[in-house]
Symmetry: C2
Subunit: 342 residues, 2 copies
């Protein structure tokens, strides 16, 4: 009988080849380019694969071909709803194209991101997709040296490592604040968890609007990760510090949700007493009561676009697209949580 020589060992291509009475090369070809092999041998190899329950060793395959079929993705958070759509888009494009998507988490910390990038590069991904533009100098260097396509997403930069697909966080923050000023609010506050560097950009946008409308900046921020309860806490702080506030721009929808609950708890009517706008337009915002105004960001499209660009580069032997900076914009979604002042 043709059994694996060593029982305790994993089944290798050689075992399959031996069993099918062909050479290892032919067995390999049946798996990768079946059309190059005659029907007879192909059937023999196929059944040997099935009988032995052969699983190709991707490590060896990747080492020999220097082609890993892996796409590296680094996001600052897995649980943040924002990255659900984002990762879904990446899967939707890459999996059918025969690539694996490898996700690492940077926890909103540049240091962790640098480590994650190093780890990722050790896996030899064929491209890397990053959330944000704030990589460390060291990380930028490693990425450039790696010689694979790199796409920075979620925000815009004038100096991309390679490709940049995003939106203006400052502009989006400005739009959110502007929406409140346009509703004649004068005392417009801002709460955010500045762990997230994009959140800080949105505050910049808010400051721009504040300047433009000659308003007084009222900003509360907390040195901890964003969460729903934090939104409530910061709202209290904001209102006790600036009791005249009639509208608040929350750095993201979770904070907005927490703020809304706190209003309900304190019998603050939304939007009559206080207008609330969030950011990112998560699913929950539309069905909250009252529904929460927000800024919708093109998360799915952004990741999709990034993925498509990468596929084009990989398949097109490395030719970069003409446009290396792509701004996908954002949309203001006015709902019931924001109303006219007075």
């Amino acid at each position: 009988m043709t059994l694996p020589k060593n029982k305790s060992r994993r089944v290798t291509l050689d075992d399959v080849a031996t069993r099918a009475r062909v050479s290892a090369v032919t067995a390999s070809r049946v798996l990768r380019k079946p059309e190059m092999v005659s029907a007879d041998l192909r059937a023999r190899v196929d059944s040997a694969v099935r009988e032995l329950a052969y699983v190709p060793n991707q490590l060896a395959s990747a080492l020999a071909s220097s082609h890993t079929g892996r796409i590296g993705v680094i996001v600052p958070s897995l649980t943040n709803g924002v990255f659900g759509d984002y990762l879904r888009a990446l899967h939707d494009v890459f999996i059918p194209a025969g690539f694996q998507v490898l996700v690492l988490n940077s926890h909103y910390l540049p240091g962790r991101e640098e480590k994650a990038i190093a780890t990722m590069l050790g896996q030899f991904p064929e491209a890397i997709i990053l959330a944000g533009i704030g990589q460390t100098t060291q990380a930028r260097k490693s990425l450039q040296q790696a010689g694979v396509p790199v796409v920075q997403t979620m925000e815009m930069t004038d100096d991309p490592i390679d490709i940049n697909v995003g939106l203006s966080q400052v502009g989006a923050g400005y739009a959110a604040a502007r929406h409140l000023f346009d509703l004649d609010h004068i005392h417009v506050g801002q709460i955010s968890a500045p762990h997230d560097s994009r959140s800080r950009k949105r505050v910049e946008g808010y400051m721009q609007a504040v300047g433009e409308f000659n308003a007084v900046p009222m900003v509360i921020s907390a040195d901890q990760p964003s969460s729903v309860p934090l939104g409530g806490q910061m709202l209290i702080e904001l209102m006790s510090r600036w009791p005249k506030v009639t509208a608040v721009f929350c750095g993201n929808d979770n904070l907005a949700l927490g703020a809304l609950f706190e209003c309900q708890r304190r019998r603050i009517r939304v939007p009559d007493d206080l207008s609330i706008i969030g950011f990112n337009d998560l699913e929950v915002s539309a069905c909250a009561y009252p529904s929460i105004s927000s800024i919708a960001t093109p998360r799915y499209e952004m990741a999709q676009r990034a993925a498509e660009i990468i596929l084009e580069i990989i398949r097109g032997t490395g030719t970069r697209p003409k446009q290396r900076q792509i701004d996908l914009g954002f949309r203001l979604i006015a709902r019931d949580s924001t109303g006219r002042a007075g």
Copy 2:
């Protein structure tokens, strides 16, 4: 000068060795077991590594040592808050121990899970952690054949593939329903998204309680992924079909949140008109208004325990713990959304 022979090529261990004027083996040792190398050579190698910005090729390393340092994790959803704590615990244990955590998403579909398991096994993880016990026969076979520790989590089974750390979903579902009956509710409804097999187990628990209290089962389920808005929709359906309902057990906290919003929208007072209990005790439940009663599941502890068991097996040359089934239980968290009937 000792530069890499080929400029367009990645830096290899040989390049480092040449530059440091040592053998490749020594260079390798400096990186893996520095205490075995003299201080002099160690310094030379270290600086060569730095100067050449050498990144070890994990592929080659893993192939040669048959030790990948990877832990495979398969979860049904990344965006579900439940798996935030879970993944955090895994990282907290494995990263300091020098392992990488590889996460794949099964989207609550056994077929996708089977594929994810196959993909994972091709990466040669040193252990696999699964959420749930409902793997396909094929998947079970592959896992057993792989010969690595496998831990099934989140629920209990009498027939674990290898190790099982979880809690009784039926029991927890019973406890949730029981809580409502104990508050003298007679018409107790249940809404859930049965995509999630654990959710179905909780319905079983609900049915047990219904039987015990001679109540009429009132179950609504939707054939789509769970979400906050879905909770609202199913609540409407439940109440229009059984208008007498005064309490509802929601399959998870997101559904409960959606149900709560719908009540606010329709001026149904919670808990006066309707009691609501969720499941999983996500962060948002405690800060909602009113705060939502729930069943707290030991997600962090469960993953932590699983990780520790795995480390012990890997380090202890494969000895399994005496106890292969570990029930970590659950806790009923009664909050303001559930009140006495009448």
